[in-house]
Symmetry: C2
Subunit: 395 residues, 2 copies
């Protein structure tokens, strides 16, 4: 169960022909009633903003934070497509709205895939008709319908990404895609979350911001911030206000986003390892964040993880050039809890324990700058031959 886990939502997905492979590439998530409900969204910070992101922003502004549906496609990002791309995004919303019987502005739209290529609108129009059109509509509230929607979001993802978090009297469900172009501020990713909790748009925005801050925004695969990143949260309200107050909803949204981000990290293109990198003892949290990101985005460091090589010298070098306040004589670095460097120099350590940790799929690396109370944590991956393979070409 994913976006259909919360009461009041239907979903569906199918292959409409955007992908040459014939894999599923179109999805719709909608309220069962077809009526708008409170909604919130967070978008990419990239100024090369894709058309669907511009459409979503306009629509949420027009409705004061409400939406009845989200239409999503994979295989084409509808980015760098100019005015006609903007019109195509609007047309996807208008068509979906017509079938659901709501206003165009009550539909949000997400696209992911190749940049710079016009959408094949004839295929998409036929697909929307099949998915959302009247008696032949393929939207459902069951687990299979949610799975079909999540399947249709995949690009280089090796599997669909779904989550359900149960609160006290409410549920948050979600689906996401993302396997590369993942970096803080946000990963190249789409996610749609739904809940049956009742909450006004403002509360949803707060919950979503908190969720994104602690999940997608601490994930970096390759330092790339995409043109299309979007996270959407819809609340049907059918379950009434959360028994634990809006704070309980925030907690559930944070948990759901965290789980989806972990699934993305685990499915990062070509990666063999998920690495949790923690920086502590920085002069400030901002310093810690800058230091952690510099290390997490270092090709050299990421290759050493792939090779299971605990070469901490490269980490020290990245920390020293991160812009954060730094004193080599105060630096401590540990892999999997085993100190390899103290006061900036190598220390004797349990080499067998270190080898065993490096051979695992989950690495935990701690760097203590020894200067203050600032700390930060990022989730990242190794850089592998398979990543290069995946990104050598677009075909």
């Amino acid at each position: 169960m994913s976006v259909t886990a919360a009461a009041g939502f239907v979903a569906g997905g199918l292959a409409c022909g955007i992908k040459a492979s014939g894999d599923p590439d179109l999805a719709v998530v909608a309220t069962t009633s077809g009526a708008p409900v409170p909604a919130a969204a967070v978008f990419t910070s990239n100024l090369m903003t894709a058309a669907p992101v511009l459409a979503c922003r306009d629509h949420l502004l027009a409705t004061g934070g409400h939406a009845a549906a989200v239409v999503l496609n994979s295989g084409n990002a509808n980015a760098a497509t100019g005015r006609s791309g903007r019109a195509d995004a609007e047309r996807m919303c208008a068509l979906t709205a017509r079938y659901l019987g709501c206003a165009t502005e009550a539909v949000l739209v997400c696209s992911t895939g190749l940049i710079g290529i016009p959408l094949p609108m004839a295929s998409i129009e036929a697909g929307i008709a099949s998915l959302a059109g009247g008696l032949t509509g393929a939207l459902g509230a069951d687990e299979a319908a949610g799975a079909a929607a999540a399947e249709a979001l995949r690009t280089t993802d090796t599997h669909r990404k779904e989550v359900v978090v149960s609160g006290d009297g409410f549920v948050v469900g979600g689906m996401a895609k993302g396997a590369a172009m993942l970096a803080p501020k946000m990963a190249t990713m789409l996610a749609v979350l739904t809940t049956d909790a009742a909450a006004p748009p403002d509360a949803l925005r707060r919950a979503l911001r908190a969720g994104v801050a602690e999940s997608f925004n601490v994930l970096t695969v390759d330092g790339a911030t995409s043109t299309n990143d979007t996270v959407i949260l819809l609340a049907s309200g059918l379950g009434g206000p959360p028994a634990g107050g809006q704070g309980a909803l925030v907690d559930a949204v944070v948990a759901a986003c965290g789980e989806l981000a972990a699934q993305m990290a685990g499915d990062a293109e070509g990666a063999t390892k998920v690495v949790r990198l923690r920086v502590s003892g920085a002069a400030s949290d901002d310093d810690a964040k800058a230091a952690a990101r510099k290390v997490a985005q270092s090709q050299l460091v990421k290759c050493s993880w792939y090779g299971q090589d605990p070469y901490w010298g490269r980490i020290a070098s990245e920390l020293g050039s991160s812009g954060a306040a730094f004193d080599p004589d105060k630096l401590r670095i540990a892999y999997g809890g085993t100190d390899v460097c103290r006061e900036g120099v190598a220390v004797d350590h349990d080499a067998a324990a270190l080898r065993a940790h490096m051979a695992g799929r989950q690495l935990v690396i701690d760097a203590d700058l020894g200067l203050g109370q600032g700390s930060a944590s990022v989730l990242t991956n190794d850089l592998t031959h398979a990543y290069v393979d995946e990104n050598m070409g677009t075909s």
Copy 2:
């Protein structure tokens, strides 16, 4: 001819046993007289500063910008080695000074190689004795001596890097190493330049800064700034002041640095392509620089170059998230002079010409932001399977 091309300098190199492979790993460049001459240097901005960099800074301060020799080793960076590493760097200078008959402060020292491992001082001391010691000394002023010194700097370099630039009545010669951990502010690199022009330390500093700004500082292979980067320039003065004035010396130093940087770019670890990336039309030069670096350091973009894929959408996305002022509707991108994107969208182009350019070893990519007069240019490489191979392990 490299560092021995200018009158007044001797050099030499040999294998002293730092590298397990038995390859050359120790070099000395010295004035023929053993007396200090005007000298200038530029160092890494990394706060994880290696011991030899600290020693050089102290010595140049003590001498007011003079030096009689540079002792260099490869195979061990003497970085993250604490107080004993600092003492080792000092000892390398003191030994060299004793054999040459100058003060310890008149000797500069450079190290490159693995981080976090103490120098094998017994091997190095024996090596310095062989190279610089009295009657058995192996320093010479001929081409072979210069080549031996340049050979001893290599780490993952596939060949030694040398340059000679002839000015009006003077010569600038140089040697360098560098194949990865190369990024603006400076590449992971060492370079020693010598000239027979007469110039005071201030003039040398100006010439060297100009040279570094237009060469090593516009080179990025992997975005890593090393712990040991050092560029040194020594002027014997034997040829007298440059006939064309100090400006002529600046020009020659800029040309020599540019040639060494081009050799590094061409020898970047695992690279199959050298890419000149030019950003124009930015709101400011700083914006252009930030945008060019963001693109040049993108794993995704670098993989597409390796795959000979002119996927400009990734470049557009990196430009949009670089922090530079950006308007998608004004963007133009060209590969090898062939426009693939205008006003932010794909344009018809000569696909055969584009394919031919992408298949070459030298790529030239232009991105015009269409906003102002700011421009910048960086030299970089593709990201390949071989880069991953080279950086998976330290052994």
